[in-house]
Structures are given as structure tokens and as C-alpha cells.
């Protein structure tokens, strides 16, 4: 299974539920396209729910960084939700864990947006 992306709105926060694999090719490009589309449409508060991500490679990590930069440069905020051990370990190894604002429960993450 490649990546499956679905979006929903919780107040003024856009939640993206990500499932499957964020790897070089279809997975990472789908996430990139969605993030750019959302920013282009004026979404400023984006919460990426990675709870059902089964696999992420360095390309996928690059897309998380790219998304974060794109959103931030457009005056918005991007946060991460529900990291599984694998994703969390990778973000820690790459020293990105403290770059992202990471949350474990959705309500708390929603409240954390300015």
C-alpha cells in the first residue's frame, strides 16, 4: 500500500490523516502536492496525523521538512500528531524531533495552535 491522505477540518485547523508509506516516489510526492495545495488555498494551521504511517524513508522525512518550511514561510503553523516509534526514532536520530511541534493527543494539538 502506498500513502493514503485524507483531510478534515476541526475548527480552523486542517487535519491531514496520513496512512501507509511515505517513501520516495508516489508517497512523498502525494504528500508534497497536498501540502502545497493546502498552503495555496490559504490553510494556515495544519496538523499532520502520522499515526497510521507504516514506513517513512529519508525522502519522506525530507517532505515533512519541506512541508514545515512551506507552511511556516507562508505565515502558518504545522504540527505533528501520533508519531509511532519508528517515525519518532527517525526524527530523533536526525535531530528533527525538537524542530517539529509533536503532540500525542489531537485535542491538545488543536488547542496548541495560536
Amino acid at each position: 500500500m502506498s500513502v493514503k491522505l485524507s483531510t478534515r477540518q476541526v475548527g480552523d485547523v486542517s487535519v491531514v490523516d496520513v496512512a501507509g508509506r511515505i517513501t520516495l516516489g508516489e508517497g512523498s510526492s502525494a504528500l508534497r502536492d497536498l501540502m502545497r495545495d493546502m498552503v495555496g488555498k490559504g490553510h494556515k494551521k495544519i496538523l499532520l496525523n502520522l499515526g497510521d504511517v507504516s514506513y517513512i524513508d529519508s525522502s519522506g522525512i525530507g517532505e515533512l521538512v519541506s512541508g514545515f518550511t512551506t507552511v511556516t514561510n507562508n505565515g502558518g503553523e504545522m504540527k505533528l500528531l501520533n508519531l509511532n516509534k519508528r517515525v519518532k526514532d527517525l526524527l530523533q536520530i536526525t535531530k528533527l524531533y525538537t524542530v517539529f511541534d509533536v503532540h500525542e493527543d489531537e485535542a491538545g494539538a488543536i488547542r496548541a495552535f495560536a
Binding site: L24, D57, S59, G62, E63, I93, V99
Partner: protein, 146 residues
Amino acid sequence: MRENEHHVPETVERLLDSTLESVESAEELALSVAQRAGFDDDDLMKIGMAVRESMVNAVVHGNRYNDHKKVRFSVSHNGERYTIRIADEGEGFDFNALPDPLAPENLMRTSGRGIFLVRSFMDEFEMRRREPSGTEVTLVKYVVSK
């Protein structure tokens, strides 16, 4: 290590096209041998990712998806060492020019973490230039009881 009495040494070699499908098949092949070698789930994850990153480097950055260039892939274990070799036919690159992905100025780069992750996940990692062209990487994980 899993309890497994069938750690029979084996070697598997493939000549692969420069495609993303080859990345998938190399990872699957590497994992099937690693499972038979007795690695646990945590090590399997590390091995799978190290192979994926190395194969992506060979296919994308080395051979640049060129139809005429192949990736030589081999995986073996002898009961003590699990070894993977991946060789491309690309132009090669300056091994000393690899940026440190953990340096503050590189932290927000969208690429450049692949080899760093491979080094992190394997016990030994070596790159060498091939003649007349190309790069070969050797990845080793020790087969030891935990």
C-alpha cells in the same frame, strides 16, 4: 535474535534495472535473507531501511534512472556477518563532500540524510569507487545473539 535453528549461510545476487521497483525488490530480498539469518524485528527495520536508502542512491543519484545502467546487488550471511553490496554504474561522487545532516545549517535541508541513516543502522559501512565508473557500498550487520 529469534530462536532459529536454520541459520544456513547463503548468498543471493541480482542484476537490477535502475528503477524504483528495483528498490522494492532489493529491500524484500534483503529482508528475506535477514529473517533467515535470525535478526529480530528492530534489526529488520534497520536493515530494510539501510538497503532502501542505498538502493535509492544507486538508482537515483548514481545511475540516474538510466535504462542502460544496472545495479549489482548481493546479500549474504555466514552466521557471523550479514553483508550487502550495492554497486551502480554512475559517475561517482566525492565521498568527502557529503554534508553533515546534523549540522545546524543543514538541519532543515530536504535531502542528504540517506547515507547518514545507513551508517546509523548498520555496524559497518564502506564506500568505494569502481573502475571504470560507479560506486559500490558495503553494508554489514553483525549476526550476534542478544
